[in-house]
């Protein structure tokens, strides 16, 4: 069966950090896949998880929920979680939800790896 998700998620290990790259629409069909991938990254217990949103044009509250959950787990495990390369359109929804201060949001993966 088709799962109807228009999203791609992959990850890469860079030193002690895991970079999770997302592309597509992070909506109700795509969020579960992002959640799985972040979980896998977290299970490997990296010091830092960078979530690269440069290829995300659309996110709804299911995406926010996924990232809030990831942040809670990261805080529990003492992992640093950083969001990077967010489009303005996507940042808008973080602001509406008052989550722009809750997350560490930086402009590039480089910055995220060194933040």
């Amino acid at each position: 069966m088709r799962d109807g998700a228009a999203i791609d998620v992959s990850q890469e290990r860079v030193g002690s950090a895991a970079i999770v790259r997302v592309s597509g629409d992070v909506d109700m069909t795509g969020s579960p896949r992002l959640r799985d991938e972040i979980r896998t990254a977290q299970d490997a217990r990296p010091e830092r998880i960078v979530i690269d949103l440069s290829e995300v044009q659309y996110m709804d509250s299911s995406g926010l929920a996924t990232l809030v959950e990831a942040m809670k787990i990261a805080k529990n495990k003492g992992t640093l979680l950083v969001l990077c390369s967010m489009h303005d359109k996507v940042r808008g929804i973080f602001e509406i939800a008052r989550l722009d201060q809750y997350f560490t949001i930086v402009d590039s993966t480089d910055e995220a790896l060194n933040a």
């Binding site: 109700m28 996924t66 929804i93 509406i96």
Partner: protein, 162 residues
């Protein structure tokens, strides 16, 4: 925010969309609304916000109304406002045949109590000018939303402080 109204005048809607409560159709519905908003004269940011409100409303119907059943029906009706492109208006009514819930229960969590979920209704209310939930006559719910941009102000909404 929970006034009881009479049913809208469906016959005058410019666009009617009926879709199954399957999440794979969320993107089709929101892209349609976004494209129409653009043609009505809304700027890019506002079009995205209107599409987001529609997406959140439909996702809530699928999750909470139909409990993730994918064979429920959802209707979306759209009316453009009269007037110039510098002051576009859009009115959207979304209806379902899902379970009826008390209007007071349709609300997001406290924003300060950060946890996964509980943001959809907040987003809808933040982004749209008018948001009214009500029970339909016999079965299901109705959500009426409207958004206008006045030519005289620059507030396209969405980033107001609550």
């Amino acid at each position: 925010m929970s006034a009881t109204r009479t049913a809208p005048d469906y016959a005058t809607a410019h666009i009617k969309l009926e879709l199954l409560s399957d999440p794979i159709y969320l993107s089709g519905a929101r892209e349609m609304v976004s494209a129409v908003s653009r043609r009505l004269g809304f700027d890019e940011v506002t079009c995205c916000q209107i599409a987001l409100a529609v997406d959140e409303a439909l996702a809530n119907i699928i999750c909470h109304g139909y409990n993730r059943r994918t064979d429920g029906k959802i209707w979306l009706y759209l009316w453009p406002g009269e007037g110039v492109p510098e002051s576009p208006t859009i009115r959207i009514v979304i209806e379902d045949e899902a379970r009826q819930v008390d209007i007071e229960k349709i609300k997001s969590r406290d924003l300060k109590d950060v946890r996964p979920g509980g943001l959809g209704v907040h987003i809808i209310k933040e982004v749209m000018d008018e948001v009214v939930y009500e029970k339909r006559q016999k079965t299901g719910m109705r959500l009426t939303m409207a958004k206008s941009v006045c030519a005289c102000d620059n507030n396209t909404g969405g980033h107001r402080d609550a």
